[in-house]
Symmetry: C2
Subunit: 137 residues, 2 copies
DNA sequence: AGTCTTGTAACTGGCGCAGTTACTAGACTA
DNA sequence: TAGTCTAGTAACTGCGCCAGTTACAAGACT
């Protein structure tokens, strides 16, 4: 895996779990499916748990389970849970040489933020259930 | 600068040049404006030149200039020129353990590609001229 | 010839992140 | 109680991407 690996892993795992929501899956199982490491899985899925998309339990017969119904988990939920912010810039420095430059800077970041919002909106239109059931169309 | 620095630099520079399209700017000038290095500027702007958005000339009084009118350069042109591909994944490996997993994998990447296309479409709706003139609205 | 510019190659350093190891903390089982 | 199975987490490694930098070649004007 290379680019957007966290988002890809999260989507893959959630879609997989949506196929059999009752069953709890261990991070080892998930890692084997995704071709990666249990610790990596727990790191990524931990974010999703914090966002209320998944629940996890320790101990014997523990593991991971969906905390909501698949149709109530949108791609936007996942995206925001992972704190990706693909488009928006994070500057926080740049002493603007002149006020004209400063205004331009603000306009550019403003446009990028609009694009980011548009992206999130688009992601909100698709649920995990949609991803899971797109096969027979 | 940190995230999306290339896109941010490109947009900033193009918008700046759109304000005075007749004037040629050296990479040193642009770098000073953007608070970065001339070589970095030439690297990023070189991509835009390959895409036909800018032209450059060597030698005395050389430099960079817009190759099109600002209203004919969209954010999508810039995005694609930089070969960003923010959303889409680049796998190219992953022996799919079973065919079900393979189908799921294809569905996830398919959805992400749709999102990517949607992003490009959205970017195509805004031109550099739009970015440049958003101040007095 | 001298100067100014782009174009590029090569190297460095930092940052992010997957991968790994090793451990702790719960939760169940026998 | 002891054993085991799990998540949770800290710490470290290694790789890849990229801005920054230095250095130099190539072209264009004076």
């Amino acid at each position: 895996m290379k680019r957007n690996s966290r988002l890809s892993l999260a989507l893959h795992t959630l879609s997989h779990m949506a196929g059999d929501p009752a069953r709890t899956q261990t991070s080892a199982d998930i890692a084997a499916h995704a071709g990666t490491n249990p610790v990596v899985v727990r790191r990524v899925l931990g974010r999703l748990r914090e966002a209320g998309l998944l629940s996890s339990e320790k101990g014997h017969a523990g593991g991971w389970r969906l905390a909501r119904e698949p149709q109530n988990i949108t791609l936007a939920d996942v995206y925001l849970a992972l704190d990706e912010r693909l488009v928006a810039t994070s500057d926080e420095e740049n002493p603007p040489s002149c006020s004209v430059e400063h205004a331009l800077q603000k306009r550019v970041t403003g446009v990028l933020q609009e694009v980011e919002e548009s992206l999130v909106k688009k992601l909100g239109e698709t649920s995990i259930a949609d991803v899971c059931h797109t096969d027979h169309h």
